[in-house]
């Protein structure tokens, strides 16, 4: 016998909505046309909870909760767009822009970049923090793809897709704190990786121009992600 599906009712930004037990606030919000910005989250990959853009307020809880991970509960009152949340989101984007080098005008994903789109949508026009501009390498040793660490936001989508869907686990994070960086195998040139299958999933889930196809000029690189929901189904519907 199948376990009955439990239904929870809650409000998001004052709107009454219903949800299945086990759904996250983000899922329910999007089903109901309520937009919560995300960057590290990507449907089909295990949620990571690191970019903190999807933080929401829940009445009765004095901390902010990440919508991508927090499951709905009966009677929850969720606020997704308070003044404070909007301010934090803008600051987080400012931090990301100041962390590395995100000059859109010379980027292959200009116009197709999630970071750029978020900044436009939230109206981030000036960065008040000093640019750190670290001088990071660009690795073009792979036959078809390039990784430019200067554009990386450490969302780890590439790490997760390679591990959870492709099963190769080429990518991981090295170091820690502000010195963290994405690496292939033993921090070696991507082209020399023993395990990379050249499937290109990492390139297409990357939200910015950190991972792109060779031979693409400025603003030419579009990301294709149709495979994700399909592969998730193939894996037995497990997120």
């Amino acid at each position: 016998m199948r376990a009955p599906i439990r239904i929870k009712t809650l409000t998001i930004d004052g709107k009454e909505v219903s949800a299945r037990e086990g759904e996250t606030i983000l899922q329910v919000a999007r089903e109901n046309g309520i937009d919560i910005p995300t960057l590290c989250y990507l449907e089909g990959l295990e949620p990571y909870g690191a970019c903190r853009l999807c933080l929401v307020e829940v009445k009765g809880i004095n901390r902010l909760l990440p919508a991508c991970i927090t499951q709905v509960e009966e009677g929850m009152e969720v606020i997704t767009n308070s003044e404070r949340l909007v301010k934090y989101r803008k600051m987080i984007l400012e931090l990301l822009f100041s962390e590395r080098n995100h000059t859109c005008s010379v980027c292959v994903v200009n116009g197709h970049c999630e970071l750029q789109r978020l900044a436009q949508k939230l109206g981030v026009t000036n960065i008040r923090y000093p640019y750190r501009y670290p001088n990071l390498p660009i690795d073009a040793t792979h036959d078809r793809f390039v990784v430019d660490h200067n554009r990386c936001v450490l969302c780890t989508r590439c790490v997760r897709v390679c591990d959870q869907i492709e099963g190769a686990h080429v990518w991981d994070v090295m170091g820690r704190g502000i010195n963290s960086r994405i690496i292939a195998d033993l921090n070696q040139p991507w082209g020399t990786s023993d395990v990379c299958t050249s499937c290109g999933k990492c390139v297409h889930v990357c939200p910015t121009g950190a991972l792109f196809e060779k031979g693409k000029a400025v603003a030419e690189m579009e990301k294709r992600r149709q495979f994700l929901p399909y592969l998730t189904v193939m894996r037995g519907g497990k997120q």
């Binding site: 591990d163 686990h169 080429v170 990518w171 991981d172 994070v173 090295m174 170091g175 820690r176 690496i183 292939a184 195998d185 033993l186 921090n187 023993d194 395990v195």
Partner: protein, 172 residues
């Protein structure tokens, strides 16, 4: 977790250096489970003094942990080092109590005299300078460790004297 009972084909060590047996011993004790990674890396570092690429490949294959994950773990934890250490090691504690009582001056004196930054080894490979988070000897601050010997209530001059002693020892 109890060790897994499945027998696995043995991965050949990078060389016939007998010390690899010690590393294999640690992995065997943990049933070659992936979660033995940090314990195994401790053994590698204890046995060889540092963790090089061969060691990482060997451990990764034996425990069936992806290479990038091994590298990620090694570089996450400050206790692990990818490069061989100098002949002598000086660790200066930079805990709060030591900081308040003048540890930065000790560090600066060593940096100036020997031209090394924390985490570096002198060109001749004689001295490695390290900075510790807190050695937990706050009652005796400021504190430094000279080749395993902990010395408390240190002045910059004392610290330099300790290091000069090594130079003299080697001269003999």
């Amino acid at each position: 977790m109890p060790p897994a009972l499945i027998e696995r084909p043995r991965v050949a060590p990078p060389s016939d250096d007998k010390r690899w047996r010690i590393v294999e011993g640690t992995m065997r004790r943990h049933g070659y489970q992936p979660h033995a990674l940090i314990e195994t890396l401790h053994t590698v570092q204890e046995t060889f003094g540092y963790i090089d690429e061969d060691a990482m490949r060997f451990v990764a294959q034996s425990l069936r942990v992806p290479l990038s994950q091994v590298y990620g773990v090694v570089t996450f934890y400050h206790f692990f080092t990818l490069k061989p250490q100098g002949e002598h090691i000086c660790v200066v504690c930079l805990g709060t109590a030591c900081y308040i009582k003048g540890a930065p001056q000790i560090l600066e004196a060593i940096e100036r005299t020997y031209g090394v930054q924390p985490g570096e080894t002198t060109k001749d490979g004689k001295l490695s300078l390290l900075a510790a988070r807190c050695l937990g000897a706050c009652g005796l601050a400021p504190v430094a460790v000279f080749d395993g010997q902990v010395v408390g209530k240190l002045s910059p001059e004392d610290a330099l004297k300790q290091i000069r002693r090594w130079e003299n020892d080697d001269g003999r």
